[in-house]
Symmetry: C2
Subunit: 206 residues, 2 copies
């Protein structure tokens, strides 16, 4: 692994363990047993490291959502849920420090909002597809769909913060349990057979 | 207004404007044109001021939820929504600084979780009442009800943080618009006539 990649891996691990606000470039250099000068050769400052990690995080979500086929299968949706839990866990510092990070770095905030809008469109596309494919028991209006996505987004954006506040242990498994509570948002809208199929794919029963 | 009350009012205003993490007892004393010694006579430290504000915030919510009549009317629910928006706004610093405040002060965290559990029971009681009174189109199971309340709680707990992150102006009016998006969680569950009545009381149309 080259130095640049080692810096990213180590920074991510330290941020996740101690919070990005408590870690300096000196901590990172020390952990890697390299000089601060060597670190600065690769990244100008902590902000640049965080932006790099952010871009990688966005890329992972892009890959997850941009499926080969344009028509999503139910199993694709289930894969998105399961892999999202791992991404939430792998980049957990980001969720916990979100307000502080975005208030300090306007470039990061712009990228964040841009990514959010893309994810919104992704979810809207899937709901529209389910609407048109007759998978829904009760079709959603545009306003209803957008409100639905908004509620879902706020809930997942702050899922890890909520676990933290209430003293829950932040593990990939616990994130999955919490995330899957959101399935009840979907329940009244999908046809019973679709609901059963999704629950079977997720390997849970109601 | 006595000095103690002036300290509380001024602290709350400064916390809301600048964030509680950026305000010291010196800032508060200076704003009030009193000596730090005088402030310390009333409150030992910032933590004590924050706990006092927290208790007042909880009391306001208690009053809002503990209605005279044991059977809630729809108009009670609407009043709770509207007055909650004002409470969210009046104590907005608390929502924004929540993770930091609760990680620093175990006493506050205990009180917070205790209050959360009471609010959970309040909402569960209302849902059970609606279930039993035949106001629901589709009754909720216990698991479904609890998941529903959890999603709702996380969404409202971080409503102001979400507005802040996405650069929305935090006003009581904007909080109401965002909070009312959660009405769509309720829609599939209540009978159409109940839905229409609630929307009329909230003075909004779908």
């Amino acid at each position: 692994m080259d130095t640049r990649e080692r810096i990213i891996k180590t920074s991510l691990a330290l941020f996740n363990e101690h919070g990005s606000l408590n870690i300096t470039t000196n901590h990172i250099a020390k952990e890697l047993s390299i000089s601060p000068g060597n670190l600065y050769y690769h990244f100008r400052n902590k902000e640049e490291i965080i932006r790099f990690i952010f871009d990688r995080w966005v890329l992972s979500f892009d890959r997850l959502w941009q499926r080969e086929s344009s028509i999503p299968e139910l199993s694709d949706l289930v894969e998105i849920v399961d892999k999202s839990c791992l991404l939430f866990y792998d980049y957990r510092f980001f969720y916990l420090d979100l307000p502080a990070l975005l208030s300090r770095d306007k470039v990061l905030r712009e990228r964040y909002v841009k990514n959010k809008n893309i994810r919104f469109r992704d979810v809207a596309k899937i709901i529209d597809f389910m609407n048109n494919a007759g998978l829904l028991e009760r079709p959603l209006s545009g306003v209803e769909r957008d409100a639905f996505i908004n509620v879902f987004w706020t809930g997942t954006e702050f899922l890890i913060s909520s676990m933290y506040i209430h003293g829950e242990k932040i593990t990939a498994g616990n994130i999955r349990i919490r995330l899957l509570q959101f399935r009840f948002l979907l329940k009244p809208y999908v046809k019973p057979a679709v609901w059963t199929a999704i629950m079977q794919l997720l390997a849970i029963s109601d």
